[in-house]
């Protein structure tokens, strides 16, 4: 069984084609692994029957030589994606019992290409968090541990269950969503690969909305090739999402091993912060050398408005969230708490249904959009956002790619007291700028911190250049030779 769990998606797909394994065997191995690693709380629901039915159907298609690109590959789904007939709560109590009557476009694309659904994965409530600690379904523990300290570490967030399960080998690949770093930061914390594609590549239809001008779906996988394979299936031009783009997606797998000879890579001087560990800087310098060894030229560049990205994000995202989450009113979905009037019913329902961080962000968002403050906060943030996007537009006239650290530190222990919201927000300091600019970015595991926890590097490309991203990601991956396995992974 362990052999099945150690295969990459690309290897498993080839083994399914040459009939050395079956989709049912592979799915059973992952269902077993999901069970065996239940203590991590990565899954909110394991959909055993659905997985077995889908695997059988995959084997039938493979037998007829009709297998799709992801045929028979078992995938976990972040609980932010609507899955028809399967409870979808965005890990919030306000959506308890919500069973969508339709499938999200992204997950439908995966199933159309033959993927097998293993279940739903834990995340921060409405994707608002950086440690998977705000989930109404409980915290997720990273499968990585530090020798001898006995503590549970944060898998990152908001796609914490997705990254943890891929690292724990309880799913082969997983969907994530990224609004300000929610794919890249947990991928870095868990030693796996995560891609946030260009805004508009993946349809938002059927993804529970957080901040619509920023939300993008993307893959979390063990290797750069696996993530490229999965991303290729996830993207589509969808009339069900008005911001979905029609630009054709380059064939990622066809050129992923082409190398980066002659590529010009920018090293942005602003991607550092007070108190950042030396090992993060050392890793970054090593990454630069890897790219140079592969024939790229690295140059120092400047993105002068970088330090304003995080405060800009914490106006724009809560503002959009306060508007998006207005729909949870106790009338159309989920739970209702009665009150003396309609307004009281709304207020009681929302007080009972939303957790603390979500409430905080709705209040911030409501405040910055309210009469008298709108110009000072919201319009100001939209103007600063343009300056941040202009930084990227200017720098990409000079270089083809940017290399930065993915996070300012390795994972931290769960349940730290006295962490104020702003300190938690700083986790996303290196991932938020690309989100605000809408450009594609990925994190690739690059090494281990001195305490044995994974570290990641971030690559950022111009809009629609996911091809550059995966080619460079493949170079970093090969040079890093990251082979460490989480101590609490299945089969270890």
């Amino acid at each position: 069984m362990t052999d099945l769990l150690t295969m990459t998606a690309v290897e498993a797909r080839a083994a399914l084609d040459d009939k050395s394994i079956s989709a049912v065997e592979l799915t059973e191995a992952y269902l077993g692994a999901a069970q065996a690693t239940e203590a991590l709380n990565a899954y909110t629901e394991i959909t055993h029957d659905k997985a077995r039915d889908m695997a059988k159907a995959s084997d039938a298609r493979l037998a007829k030589g009709e297998g799709g690109a992801l045929e028979g590959l078992p995938i976990g789904v972040k609980d932010l994606f609507c899955t028809e007939g399967v409870e979808t709560t965005a890990c919030s109590n306000i959506l308890n019992g919500y069973k969508p009557v339709y499938e999200s476009t992204v997950t439908q694309n995966l199933w159309t290409d033959g993927a097998v659904m293993l279940g739903k994965l834990n995340c921060d409530e409405f994707a608002m968090g950086s440690a998977n600690e705000t989930s109404a379904r409980g915290k997720v523990s990273s499968p990585w541990t530090v020798d001898g300290d006995g503590q549970d570490y944060a898998p990152g967030g908001s796609s914490g269950g997705s990254a943890a399960s891929v690292a724990a080998r309880s799913s082969l690949m997983a969907t994530g969503t990224d609004t300000g770093g929610s794919i890249r930061q947990p991928a870095a914390f868990c030693g796996v690969v995560g891609i946030k594609p260009t805004y508009g590549r993946c349809s938002r239809r059927g993804i529970v909305a957080f901040a619509s001008s920023l939300d993008q779906a993307g893959p979390i996988a063990r290797t750069v090739e696996d993530s490229a394979l999965m991303l290729q299936s996830m993207v589509s031009h969808d009339l069900g999402d008005s911001t979905s783009v029609a630009e054709p997606m380059p064939d990622l797998m066809g050129q992923i091993n082409d190398g980066i000879k002659g590529l010009k890579v920018g090293i942005p001087s602003e991607y550092t912060m007070d108190g950042m560990a030396d090992e993060i800087t050392a890793q970054w310098q090593e990454g630069r050398k890897w790219l140079e060894d592969a024939g790229a030229t690295c140059v120092e560049v400047s993105l002068p408005h970088t330090k304003y990205a995080l405060p800009t994000y914490y106006i724009v995202a809560p503002a959009e969230a306060s508007s998006n989450l207005a729909r949870y009113d106790g009338v159309r979905y989920g739970a209702r708490v009665e009150g003396g009037s309609l307004d009281e019913m709304y207020a009681n329902t929302r007080a009972a249904g939303f957790g603390e961080e979500v409430t905080r962000r709705i209040l911030i968002g409501t405040y910055v959009l309210s009469a008298g403050y709108y110009d000072a906060y919201y319009i100001k943030a939209q103007k600063t956002r343009r300056l941040i996007q202009n930084d990227f537009i200017e720098v990409f006239k000079e270089v083809d790619l940017l290399l930065t650290p993915a996070t300012p530190s390795a994972a931290f222990p769960l349940g730290q007291k006295d962490v104020d919201p702003v300190t938690m927000y700083l986790n996303d300091v290196f991932t938020v700028p690309a989100s605000l600019a809408g450009v594609p970015a990925m994190s690739v595991p690059s090494g281990l911190a001195s305490n044995g926890l994974p570290l990641g590097l971030q690559l950022i490309a111009p809009s629609f250049r996911e091809d550059t991203l995966v080619k460079a990601g493949r170079v970093v991956e090969k040079a890093a030779g990251f082979a460490a396995i989480a101590s609490r992974a299945a089969g270890v």
């Binding site: 009557v101 783009v245 989920g334 009665e338 309609l342 709304y346 007080a351």
Partner: protein
């Protein structure tokens, strides 16, 4: 400030949470105020990164006639309608 914003957001906040919440929100807002350093004169606000105009289509019915599906997840329904507390005396 918190009780006014909470009323606008239709979220009930318990009396004893008002003061701690006010402090948390002020801490976030004062951190955000560093944006005042940025000169944004003559900068157009950015609402969408794609630069694409929103697509238009003919104003015709493309789906619907599925009242059961629409009310499927509602806490209270009757005959294909959402039920809300009485709003008119």
């Amino acid at each position: 400030m918190v009780s006014r914003v909470a009323r606008l957001a239709r979220i009930h906040i318990d009396e004893e949470r008002l003061e701690p919440m006010a402090q948390e929100l002020s801490a976030i807002l004062s951190w955000i105020e560093q944006l005042n350093e940025v000169n944004t004169d003559a900068v157009e606000p950015l609402a969408s990164v794609t630069g694409h105009a929103l697509p238009l289509r003919d104003d015709v019915v493309t789906d619907g006639n599925t009242p059961e599906a629409v009310v499927h997840n509602a806490p209270e329904t009757t005959s294909g309608f959402f039920v809300v507390p009485k709003v008119v005396e």
